[in-house]
């Protein structure tokens, strides 16, 4: 019997070490990494622990050390304090998972970035510091040009997250060379039928000219990004007016868009497109990175002619990569087709401050003053967040350099002393650096004074941003519901199951939606009741 008991204990111990190794640090026990005693008057902030995703492009491969060093110097200059910035940059595509693992280990940062859907779940939990007052009294207030961005983030009049820029979104890019090859013009693609004809041509008319039938109309990382709002922006032409998530309709009622007729129609379109082979058949399992790299790969076998991806800087990046890989020299941004109307401007990711729950706001206020308020100082620190480190990512010193030297894509750059310009990317001397964490075209407060002339020299990025702003509408705000939070994983699984059954397996749409309703219908109903009763 003793041996049996030992056996059970051993088995339980081994497995539990995998699933329950959290020592149990509830939020009330969250402590900051700072040293020194907290007072209600002034907090002696010595370090900031920051968690960020891939939007901070000055990553470890791109001289993050220089960014950190110059940020610390600039803070010292501005506030007279030595504050160490410790960055924990997590994998971009698995950010929510990675943050979950950090929190599971009781490892809470001082400040972090949160995507909109994640923020919606955390906003009312007490983990995030209420920065309403700090925001209202912030030094940057007088310079803010788009106050509505942060006003829309308020929940019950309280601001738990700050966004220095508006959200941005995806537009559909088309390879110009492929359009020429199949004898089409982007300006003629006005309806879904036109768009679909283009996809068919890209699929069947050998646009890469290799003599093989090995290309596709379009590609995406999944047919529906069920875990990332606004969910449908990677295949907007197929989803059109459908919004397969819980949203507030024009009558102010919260509804489940996944069960609406528009979603059914979208599924029909996706099913047909998959059957016709105009969508890369590996789309379901492709990651964002894979889909992106297939698009500009130097081997165009298996590539697609159109690809919906982020506007602005990514217009430049995708074009640069197509040029570098000698695929194409021009990408065309497709105006939204009639059925789409507008591309979707996602809810902006926000910076949040973790509340240590001690009832004393001095630490959190110090973090706000040092980290968030300075982010939009209109000067040196805003430049750091916008363009990166001086003389590493950008410079005003006279210099000249050449990209893609010795190739037919060679391009020379020459700058005079005092002329602001972006330098070669630290990790790729054939690519021009574009921006750091904040997109200069999307930021809500401009650079001022000596820095007002610091403008992004990338024409394509600027064009991309203008194009997007002209053709976008705001995404539906994410619902805040305990029921949804509790069952998020189950709902995502159920949605993905429908997509697989309908699109990949060609199954019956009504039957698949009935399965969805059977699996999560009661949860959805409960969530809707909860949301509509507020």
């Amino acid at each position: 019997m003793k041996k049996r008991l030992v056996a059970i204990l051993l088995a339980v111990a081994t497995t539990m070490s995998l699933v329950a190794c959290n020592g149990g640090t509830p939020s009330s026990e969250v402590v900051s990494g700072q040293t020194g005693s907290e007072t209600t008057k002034e907090y002696d902030l010595t370090s900031i622990k920051m968690v960020v995703d891939g939007t901070l492009t000055a990553n470890l491969d791109n001289r993050q050390d220089a960014f950190v060093e110059q940020w610390q110097e600039a803070i010292k200059e501005k506030t007279g304090k030595d504050v160490a910035l410790n960055i924990n940059q997590l994998d971009h595509s698995g950010y929510v998972d990675a943050v979950g693992r950090l929190f599971a280990g009781g490892d809470y940062p001082d400040v972090m970035i949160m995507p909109a859907s994640m923020f919606a779940q955390y906003a009312n939990t007490g983990l995030l510091w209420d920065m309403t007052e700090a925001y209202d009294n912030a030094e940057f207030q007088s310079r803010i040009e788009k106050p509505e961005i942060n006003e829309s983030l308020k929940r019950d009049g309280k601001l738990y997250g700050f966004s220095p820029a508006y959200g941005n979104g995806c537009v559909t890019y088309v390879k110009k060379a492929w359009l020429d090859k199949v004898g089409m013009n982007a300006s003629d693609i006005k309806t879904y039928d036109d768009y679909y004809k283009m996809l068919l041509a890209f699929t069947n008319e050998d646009p890469d000219g290799n003599g093989k039938n090995d290309t596709y109309g379009t590609d995406a990382a999944g047919f529906l990004k069920a875990d990332e709002a606004p969910y449908i922006n990677y295949l907007p032409e197929f989803w059109q007016d459908a919004y397969p998530a819980i949203y507030q309709n024009d009558q102010g009622q919260w509804v489940d868009g996944f069960q609406e007729e528009a979603t059914k129609k979208a599924l029909e379109r996706l099913q047909k497109a998959y059957k016709d082979g105009v969508i890369d058949p590996a789309a379901l399992t492709d990651s964002t990175k894979t889909a992106r790299e297939k698009f500009f790969s130097n081997d165009q076998a298996g590539s697609s002619g159109s690809f919906a991806y982020w506007a602005g800087t990514w217009y430049q990046t995708l074009t640069d990569n197509l040029i570098k890989n000698e695929v194409d020299s021009e990408l065309v941004m497709l105006e939204p087709i009639k059925e789409v109307g507008s591309y979707i401007n996602r809810e902006a990711p926000v910076w949040v401050i973790i509340d240590d729950g001690d009832g004393d706001n001095s630490r959190e206020q110090a973090i706000f003053d040092t980290f968030i308020d300075t982010m939009l100082d209109g000067g040196k620190i805003q430049v750091l967040w916008t363009y990166g480190a001086e003389d590493v990512h950008w410079s005003t010193k006279a210099e000249s350099f050449v990209l893609n030297a010795g190739t037919d894509k060679e391009k020379s750059y020459e700058y005079k002393d005092g002329e602001f310009h972006l330098k070669q990317s630290p990790n790729d001397e054939n690519t021009l650096w574009k921006k750091n964490a904040m997109d200069p075209a999307l930021v809500i407060s401009p650079l001022v004074g000596d820095y007002a002339g610091f403008t992004n020299t990338s024409e394509l990025a600027a064009q991309g941003n203008i194009f997007f702003v002209q053709h976008c509408k705001d995404a539906h705000p994410s619902p805040v519901s305990d029921v949804l939070t509790e069952n998020n994983g189950t709902i995502i699984d159920a949605k993905n199951a429908v997509i697989s059954k309908v699109v990949v397996e060609g199954g019956d749409i009504d039957a698949a939606l009935a399965d969805y309703k059977a699996a999560v219908g009661s949860i959805i109903d409960q969530a809707l009741e909860d949301l509509n009763s507020k």
């Binding site: 056996a7 539990m16 329950a20 020592g23 599971a104 983990l127 090995d214 298996g302 997509i499």
Partner: protein, 344 residues
């Protein structure tokens, strides 16, 4: 023959009698007290005499307690609603009720048993076959080369294996396997290829094939060791009896391996609930019904939720541990029956 307990009682009785005989005690009760004192003293004397060994064992004991037993305190969260934010709230058996009423949990439970056990049987069978084949090879250099080649996949990480096979099995124009099938006109050359890793009918066979490819070589090690220990006289005797090569394999080699095969199966059966990485890197939402195992289910419930309930994940983990514990006991019983001693 008496039981061990009876034997021990008899020895104790004799020692107590000896104490009375030597005059250290006048009555039986007094003798028993003296016996107990002597026993305790003997225990501490033993510890003291072997203090070096016990001192060496101390770090191990501390390590095990801290890393294996201390985390077990987390079991309590199976009865709490415990999120990254806020204090844990006692919910009794609510997490278990949710678990047992969730279809996805039962699918993952069934898949765990099916995938693990079949994988175990298949990889063991192929390992035995390959080991016998290697044992029959006469060219030593060829045998060594082949051994090295088939061992190599074992040392590749599952992430790399998944990347390689995902590329090879891709349904798009770049997928090698679909390309070959199209070239051979086995599938429609103009149609889309087979989506091996997103097709419910194909996912499991592909999963088993990848596991066989990766683990068979390493699995042969223990069988080759057993084969090298077979008495050559048995083969000589078979030769004298006129046995063919196949007959020697069947009547000498395979019986010699049977005990090892059973031991390998029993020892691995205890680990069937731990399947995670191999599934995690190869599965996707299209094949959850046939691929999702308990560990991947726990992972999704915990880490794809921005605000997960660790209490629920712990409840599922606790259930998995209890089943795993049951299997350990079962294997211990089977081991005792088959080879006369347990695995614990």
């Amino acid at each position: 023959m008496g039981s061990k307990k009876e034997t021990m009682a008899a020895i104790q009785e004799l020692q107590v009698q000896d104490i009375i005989n030597t005059g250290l005690a006048n009555s039986k009760e007094e003798a028993q007290k003296v016996w107990k004192k002597k026993k305790a003293s003997k225990f501490w004397k033993h510890i003291w005499n072997h203090r070096g060994f016990y001192l060496m064992f101390l770090p191990v004991a501390i390590f095990v307690i801290i890393l294996y037993y201390w985390p077990m305190l987390g079991i309590r969260f199976a009865f709490f609603d415990y999120k990254p934010v806020g204090d844990p709230k006692w919910v009794g058996l609510a997490n278990f009720q949710k678990m047992f009423s969730t279809r996805a949990f039962w699918i993952s439970f069934g898949n765990t048993l099916f995938l693990s056990i079949l994988k175990l049987l298949l990889t063991t069978a192929t390992s035995v076959l390959v080991a016998v084949f290697l044992n029959e090879m006469r060219l030593l250099w060829a045998k060594k080369t082949l051994q090295t080649l088939i061992y190599l996949p074992h040392f590749m990480s599952w992430a790399v294996v998944a990347a390689i096979f995902s590329l090879m099995l891709s349904p798009s124009a770049t997928g090698m396997i679909n390309g070959i099938l199209k070239d051979l006109n086995i599938i429609d050359p103009d149609g889309s290829g087979i989506y091996f890793l997103a097709n419910k009918a194909w996912w499991r066979p592909i999963f088993f094939l990848i596991n066989i490819w990766k683990e068979t070589g390493w699995g042969t090690v223990i069988f080759l060791a057993t084969l090298s220990g077979i008495n050559p006289e048995l083969y000589e005797a078979a030769d004298i009896d006129g046995a063919s090569r196949l007959q020697k394999i069947w009547y000498v080699t395979v019986p010699a391996l049977s005990q090892t095969i059973i031991i390998v199966l029993i020892l691995n059966l205890a680990k069937v609930m731990n399947m995670f990485e191999s599934v995690f890197v190869l599965y996707n939402s299209a094949v959850f019904d046939v691929s999702d195992v308990i560990s991947t289910y726990i992972y999704r419930q915990t880490f794809t939720n921005a605000l997960p309930n660790y209490g629920y994940s712990t409840a599922v983990g606790l259930f998995k541990s209890l089943v795993g514990g049951g299997l350990v006991i079962l294997c211990n019983w089977a081991s005792k029956k088959i080879r006369g001693r347990g695995i614990l």
